[in-house]
C-alpha cells in the first residue's frame, strides 16, 4: 500500500501541501523538505485508515478522494463528524501536548490517496527551522481549534521553540505592535506634547505669574495635594471619599450609558430600516436632539422628584440621541448590494435584518457608542454641578464654592482619566465584536 516517493511525485506532494492550511504559505524549500519525508498511501472506499485509540504516529494529508473523520465522543468536539477533502489535514493528535493516541476514527469514503508524514520527523524538521517551523505549528494550532473545533484546553499544540499556542501568539503580536509603536516617532511626540502643556502650566502660574493665571492652582500644589496622605482640603489619592466620588459618577454613567444603548440601538435600527417609523419619529427626534442638556435640567428636576434619577436621566438623554442617530446612519450606509445578495440567496426579511443590517451597521453603532459615552460624561458633570450629592462634578463645583482650588483640578484630571478609560473599554468591546473589521484595517495599515 505504501511506496517510496518517486522523484516526479515530490512536486505533486509540494503542490498538495500548498493547498493545506498549516503548510499553505510555507517557503518552497520548507515544503520540499516536508515532501521528502512524506510517504504516499492509498485506501479503497470504506477502508479504515486508523481507529480512535491507536498510537498517534503519522499525520495525513488528503491528495485525492475524501475521508470520513469521526471524533470519539469523549473529546467533546463541537463538530464530531466531518468529511476531509483534498488539502485537508488530519491525524495531528501527536502534535498535541501529552497526546499519544488517536482521537478519531478515519475511514476512506471513496478511493483516497494520502500523504503520510511521521509526526516526530516533522517536529524535528520544524525545529530545525525555528522561525518558519514555529509559524507552521501556529497554523496547525489555529487549524485544529477552528476547523476541528476542539475544546481549547485540549488543543494545546506542543511547543517547538517558544510560545506557540493561540493566546501566546496573540500576546507576541501585541508585543510586536508595541515595539513598532515605540520605534515610531508617535510616543515621543506624545511625551513632548504633554511636557509642553504641563510646562506651560508650571511657568504661567508659578514662574511668570501671568495676570490671568494669578488665582490658578499651580501644578506643584495640585500634585502635592493629590498625592498627599493628609490633604489640606480633604481629597487625595489616600482619602476614601475620593473613590466614593469616582464610584458614584461611574455608576451613574454606567446606568445612563447602558440604558441609552439598550434603547438607542433598537430605535436607530428601526429608524434606518423602516421608512414609516422614520417618518413618524424622526421629525420629533430632530427637534429634541439639538436642545442642550443644560436646558433640560429644570424639567428633569420637575419630572423626577429624586435628584438621583434626574441626574441619570440627563446623562442618558444625550447618550441616547448620539447612539440612535449613529445607528440609523449605520443602517442607511449599508450597500444595497448586500441586501440584494441576501435576497437572492433566499433570506427573508428577518434574516436580512439579522445577518446584514445589524452587522453592517455595527461600525457606525460603535462610533455612536464612543460619542455616547463621551456626551454621557459631559452631561453627567453638568447635572452633578446643578444638583446631586457626590460625584466628580459635585466635587468640582463645591470646591469652587468653598475655595479649594487644587481640588478642582484634581477633580478635572480624574474626570479626564476615568472618561478616557471608559471610552477605551467601549473601543475594546467594539474591536472584539468586529474582528473582521480589525483584520481588514490591519491589512490596509490604517
Amino acid at each position: 500500500m505504501e511506496a517510496a516517493l518517486r522523484a516526479g511525485a515530490a512536486d505533486d506532494a509540494v503542490a498538495v501541501l500548498r493547498d493545506t492550511t498549516p503548510f499553505g504559505d510555507g517557503s518552497e524549500a520548507l515544503l520540499q523538505r516536508v515532501a521528502a519525508i512524506a510517504r504516499p498511501a492509498r485506501y479503497d472506499a470504506g477502508e479504515r485508515i486508523y481507529s480512535a485509540g491507536d498510537a498517534a504516529d503519522d499525520i495525513y494529508v488528503v491528495v485525492s478522494g475524501r475521508a470520513e473523520h469521526v471524533f470519539m465522543p469523549e473529546v467533546g468536539a463541537r463538530e464530531a463528524n466531518k468529511r476531509v477533502p483534498r488539502g485537508g489535514v488530519f491525524g495531528w493528535a501527536g502534535l498535541l501536548l501529552g497526546q499519544t493516541q488517536r482521537l478519531a476514527t478515519v475511514t476512506a469514503s471513496e478511493p483516497t490517496e494520502v500523504l503520510r508524514i511521521d509526526t516526530e520527523a516533522l517536529v524535528e524538521l520544524l525545529e530545525s527551522e525555528p522561525l518558519e517551523g514555529g509559524h507552521v505549528m501556529e497554523r496547525f494550532a489555529g487549524m485544529i481549534q477552528r476547523d476541528f473545533t476542539l475544546p481549547t484546553l485540549l488543543a494545546q499544540v506542543r511547543r517547538l521553540s517558544g510560545p506557540l499556542t493561540e493566546e501566546m501568539s496573540s500576546l507576541s503580536l501585541t508585543m510586536y505592535r508595541l515595539s513598532l509603536w515605540l520605534k515610531s516617532p508617535r510616543p515621543y511626540l506624545m511625551v513632548i506634547g504633554f511636557a509642553l502643556f504641563l510646562g506651560f502650566w508650571y511657568f504661567a502660574v508659578e514662574i511668570w505669574k501671568l495676570p490671568r493665571f494669578r488665582e490658578m492652582p499651580g501644578i506643584t500644589g495640585v500634585v502635592k495635594e493629590w498625592f498627599s496622605p493628609s490633604p489640606t482640603y480633604g481629597l487625595s489619592l489616600y482619602s476614601a471619599e475620593y473613590y466614593q466620588h469616582i464610584a458614584m459618577s461611574v455608576w451613574r454613567v454606567t446606568q445612563a450609558f447602558v440604558l441609552a444603548t439598550v434603547l438607542g440601538v433598537p430605535v436607530g435600527l428601526l429608524l434606518g430600516w423602516s421608512r414609516k417609523f422614520k417618518e413618524y419619529v424622526f421629525p420629533v427626534f430632530e427637534t429634541l436632539r439639538p436642545i442642550p442638556i443644560l436646558a433640560w435640567v429644570p424639567l428633569a428636576i420637575v419630572m423626577f422628584i429624586a435628584t438621583e434619577s434626574a441626574v441619570v436621566y440627563l446623562a442618558f438623554l444625550a447618550s441616547f440621541f448620539a447612539t440612535a442617530l449613529n445607528t440609523m446612519l449605520g443602517v442607511e450606509s449599508i450597500d444595497e448590494s448586500y441586501v440584494r445578495a441576501a435576497n437572492c440567496l433566499g433570506a427573508d426579511e428577518w434574516q436580512v435584518f439579522r445577518h446584514v443590517i445589524i452587522p453592517g451597521a455595527l461600525p457606525f453603532i460603535f462610533t455612536g457608542l464612543q460619542i455616547s459615552i463621551g456626551v454621557s460624561w459631559f452631561s453627567l458633570v453638568a447635572a452633578e454641578m446643578v444638583s446631586g450629592q457626590y460625584g466628580l462634578g459635585y466635587v468640582i463645583w463645591t470646591s469652587y464654592v468653598m475655595v479649594r482650588y487644587p481640588t478642582i483640578v484634581i477633580g478635572m484630571v480624574t474626570l479626564g482619566l476615568v472618561g478616557y478609560t471608559t471610552s477605551a473599554l467601549v473601543r475594546i468591546a467594539g474591536d472584539y465584536l468586529m474582528e473582521w473589521r480589525v483584520r481588514e484595517l490591519a491589512l490596509t495599515e490604517r
Binding site: T20, E79, K82, P85, G87, A347, Q351, W436
Partner: protein, 282 residues
C-alpha cells in the same frame, strides 16, 4: 457537432426576454432605458451581453433578478413567468443569483460562512451539512485554506471566486454576472476567465454575463448579444463558433481575431453614441 451549442445540453435555465420595455420615472421626465427588447438565453449557455456603460443592460439584469420592475413585456424562465406587464416585478430567489459588480460577499462573515449562507437561511441544509458541502466546493474551486479568512483578507480575484461558489451552493438555474471583473487588473482578469470557464464546465449552469469588454465576451460566450445604447435592445447577436472547452490559447487564434473584427464596428458605434449622449456610468 454544433459548436455553438452549450457544452452540456442542460434543460434548466432557459430565459426568454419578450418585448420588454423599461421606462424610468413614468410620471416625470420619462427615460426609455430598455426598448422592446427580445432575447432568448438558451438553457446551459453562456450568453454575453455587451454594451457601453450606462446603456441599460444592468436594467435587464435587475429585471430578471427581481430588483426592479419592468414597464411592459414579459420575462419567462423555464416556462414560468418571472415578471410581466401585469406583475411587473419578480421575486428575487436562489434560482437566479447575481454576482455583483463590486462584489457583495458579507465582509462580516468568514468566506465559509458566506458560502453556506444560502442553504442555511433557506433551511435546505443543516449547518453541518452546509459546512461540509461548502468546504468541498471551495476546495474544488482551488480555495481551500481561505475558509476562515474574512473576505477583506483575501485578494479581489479570490473574493470573486468565493462569491461564485456562494452562488453555486444554491444550485441555481442561472447565474447573473454584472461586470464582475470590471475592477480587476488585466492579469487577474485572465486568470478569472479561465477559472470561470472551469467552474462552468463542472456545474453546467446558464450564465448571463454583462460586460463592456468585447474580448472578454467573445472569449467566454457561446453567444454575444451586442446592445444598442439607451434605449437598450440587441443590435446584433453573434454566435461564437469556437469550440468549448476553451483556454487562453483562443485569444491568439485566427478565428477569435476575425470575430473581434466582425463585431468591433458595431460596438464602437454604440460606444460613440453613448459618449455623445454623455450617459452617466452605471
Amino acid at each position: 457537432m454544433d459548436m455553438r451549442r452549450p457544452a452540456a445540453a442542460s434543460t434548466r435555465g432557459q430565459i426568454l426576454i419578450e418585448d420588454v420595455v423599461k421606462v424610468y420615472d413614468p410620471d416625470g421626465a420619462a427615460v426609455l432605458a430598455v426598448d422592446h427588447c427580445t432575447l432568448e438565453i438558451e438553457a446551459g449557455e453562456i450568453c454575453m451581453i455587451v454594451g457601453p456603460s450606462g446603456c441599460g443592460k444592468t436594467t435587464l439584469l435587475n429585471a430578471i433578478a427581481g430588483f426592479h420592475e419592468i414597464t411592459s413585456g414579459r420575462i419567462v424562465m423555464d416556462g414560468e413567468v418571472l415578471c410581466s406587464t401585469e406583475q411587473p416585478r419578480s421575486t428575487p430567489g436562489p434560482d437566479r443569483i447575481v454576482v455583483f459588480q463590486n462584489g457583495a460577499l458579507f465582509p462580516w462573515k468568514s468566506n465559509l460562512e458566506n458560502v453556506i449562507f444560502g442553504p442555511v437561511v433557506q433551511g435546505k441544509l443543516a449547518r453541518k451539512e452546509a459546512i461540509d458541502k461548502g468546504r468541498a466546493m471551495l476546495a474544488d474551486a482551488g480555495l481551500s485554506g481561505v475558509e476562515h479568512n474574512y473576505p477583506g483578507e483575501v485578494s479581489s480575484g479570490m473574493r470573486r471566486r468565493v462569491e461564485i461558489v456562494r452562488a453555486l451552493m444554491n444550485d441555481p438555474r442561472v447565474l447573473l454576472l454584472d461586470e464582475p471583473y470590471r475592477a480587476l487588473d488585466s492579469l487577474t482578469k485572465s486568470v478569472m476567465h479561465e477559472a470561470l470557464l472551469e467552474i462552468y464546465y463542472r456545474n453546467k449552469v446558464t450564465i448571463f454575463f454583462i460586460t463592456h469588454d468585447l474580448e472578454e465576451a467573445i472569449f467566454l460566450g457561446h453567444r454575444v448579444a451586442i446592445m444598442t445604447t439607451r434605449p437598450c435592445k440587441p443590435k446584433k447577436v453573434l454566435n461564437v463558433d469556437i469550440a468549448h472547452p476553451r483556454d487562453y490559447g483562443v485569444l491568439t487564434s485566427k478565428r477569435f481575431r476575425e470575430l473581434i473584427e466582425e463585431t468591433n464596428d458595431a460596438v464602437h458605434e454604440e460606444a460613440l453614441k453613448a459618449f455623445q449622449a454623455g450617459e452617466k456610468e452605471g
